[in-house]
Structures are given as C-alpha cells and as structure tokens.
Symmetry: C2
C-alpha cells in the first residue's frame, strides 16, 4: 500500500459536492454515533457506516500519535475489504493520555469515578488519528488537543457518573455533555475531543478531491 | 446595587438541585436558542427565558472585557424588573474582536463574506461577559477564547454563506455548525465561542448556591 502525505495525494476524482458523485461513496469506518453526527454537522449527509471491529492490534513502543494513527489505519484496512475501490473510507481512533499514559474507557461506575478524580485539576491530552483510504492510497493525520479540567469535587463526580455519560467514553467524560462544566480550557481543535478533528478532516478530504 | 466578587457571594439559598427549590427560578435573560440549548446540555432544564431587548448602551472607552461585562449587567438589570427577587437571572453578552476591533453580526450575505475573509488565516478573540443577578446582588465574569481560522478559500466562504448560518452570528460563523471545519485551533473555553462559557457559569452558580 502506498502512503502519500497530505499534500501529495493525487488520487482524487473530479472535485465534487460530497457524496453526489455516483462513482464513489464515503464510508465511515466507525460505529460512534458522535462521529456520525459530526460528519452530518459539516454537511456530509450521504455516507455509509461500516464499523471496524474492535480487535485492532496495539503495537508496543509507539508514541501516542503513532498509536492512534496505526489503529486508525488498521480500522480503515479492515473496512476496505467490504468496500468498492472507488469508496473513500474515513477511519479514526481517539485516545486520552494523562502524564503519557493512556486512559481507557471505564468498565464500571467506580472506574469512571477514579478516572475523573485523576483528571480533576489537571491537563490531559486527546489524540485522534485520522486515515482516509481509497483503493491502495491512504493519507493520515494526527490531531492533539490539550484539555484542562478545573478541580471537581467528589460530589460533582458522583453526580456526573450517575448520569451514565462516562460509560462509553475514553477518559470517562463527554465534552459535549454535562462534563462541559469541568473543562476550564482547551488548546487545540475542539471536535477532536469528541473523536473527529473536523478542520483536519476537511483538508484531508480536499486532498482526495472532496470539497465539503 | 452591591457587587460581590465570585468568591465573596453569600446570598445563596440552601444548596439545591437546580430549579428544584420552589422559592427561586433560574431566568435566562437571552433569546439565543444556543444559550438555551447549552443550559439544557448541562442539566438545567427548569428555567424561564426572558430576552433582554437589544438596546443596551455601549459605553465608550471600555476594554473588550469591560464592554461585554457591562452589557451583560445591563441585560440582567432590564430583565430583573420582570422577575421575583428570589430569582437568579443569567445574562450574557458575546463579542468577537479582530485586532482589537469588534466584529458585529453581518447585515447581509456580502457583509458575512467580508467578515469571513477577514477571519481567514488569522486569530480572533471571543469575549463573553456573564452576570448572575439575584435581588440586589450580582456576580460577573468574563471569558476570552482565542480562535484560529485556517486559510479559507473564496469558494468555501461563498458555499458557507449560502447555508444561511452566518446571518445571526457575531463574526458570521457558528463554531458548532459547518464553520467547524475552518477552526484549526482554539485556546480557551469552547462553549464560550457559542455564547455561554459553561465552566465559568457553573462555578458562578455554585457561588449562588446552585449545584448543577
């Protein structure tokens, strides 16, 4: 598989309004309802969703950026087997890192509360790797956003955990939900924290000939 | 009218779940559907909306922070005449500044396109002043978020203006809409860019005895 950097991509079909060209389809290789909603928010309506299964291999010794990038590429490749070679596959992987250590999705309310306690009053980093794959060409990008939580009390943590929001979220919170009140400041792209860096995605799509 | 700083507020009724205490109501002094949706997003469901009319006086010689803060206080005072003294009034004013100059809401598609052209490839700052007013006590705060647009083409601007999104927005864009693809980076609170800094609001409400 050839890899081209973002500026070098020349596999593009004619510039088109997204999803209108009958020869290709956009495929979102993710079951995340948030990623689906974000694509729709920026005007991409006509796409298929084919979730990549969750057995991506995490290679040891990789940096956070290399890790999310490599997992996103694995997801894209898995889904490409079910697609036409003219389709553009969008795959993404998001991981939350605190002090260089990844924070997974919580397995229980107790784990969610522990994670939120760790994030309280501290900065953490959200990494998303994005891969666009079409035929045998792919482009990839990594976006990092630093997120600063204010100090949050045990009572706030407990009330937040009870809402159920933390359970399927990396880092045990949803920036676009009630946890918004915990986020004092971010540095980077906001929608990256929700799992899809939209600005970066738009320039990557442009390199594939898709104008949104 | 007494002014107390955030830490000094002691007008609070007993700590309560928001909106449950029958003695007080939260009143949003804004007709903005975005601010309404943001309050609901953080779990504040039970509030009245009383928009302040738009004839606030802008005093000359004020800094951006003093300007939004002063307009928010004017809005709160206007609406307080229609409220009970036990009500907590939330008022906010948001202005977009580019190179120290405020950018208003566009009056036409052409103005919207000009504004977006000015923002292209540059940093601008979004200021929101927030005031909570209860009886004769108020607290106020100002949040600033720096927003960095990537370079956007005339074609992108024209397509965006056609969506109609820019028309009622300060700076001619909605961060939570299609313009998300223009925003390369922010530094500060994201929801401030949408008109209501939720983290700051939550700590101000706490000082008024409202735990959300």
């Amino acid at each position: 598989m050839r890899h081209v950097d973002r500026r070098g991509a020349h596999c593009a079909s004619a510039s088109m309004k997204c999803g209108v060209d009958k020869a290709m389809k956009i495929v979102l290789a993710s079951g995340s309802p948030r990623r689906r909603a974000l694509l729709q928010m920026i005007g991409i309506e006509d796409f298929r969703v084919i979730p990549a299964d969750d057995e991506e291999e995490i290679l040891p010794g990789l940096s956070p950026g290399q890790t999310v990038s490599s997992i996103a590429l694995q997801k894209a490749k898995i889904v490409s087997r079910l697609c036409d070679s003219a389709d553009i596959i969008i795959a993404a992987d998001t991981l939350v890192y605190l002090n260089g250590r990844p924070i997974a999705k919580p397995g229980s309310d107790e784990e969610a509360a522990e994670m939120l306690k760790e994030l309280s009053g501290r900065r953490h980093s959200v990494y998303t790797g994005v891969v666009l794959l079409k035929g045998d060409v792919h482009v990839s990008g990594v976006e990092v956003t630093d997120v600063y939580f204010r100090e949050i009390s045990d009572r706030e943590i407990s009330a937040y955990v009870k809402t159920g929001e933390p359970m399927d979220k990396a880092g045990a919170y949803a920036a676009q939900g009630r946890a918004a009140v915990f986020i004092e400041r971010i540095e980077g792209e906001f929608f990256n924290v929700m799992g899809l860096p939209l600005c970066r995605l738009s320039t990557m799509l442009r390199d594939f000939g898709v104008i949104i």
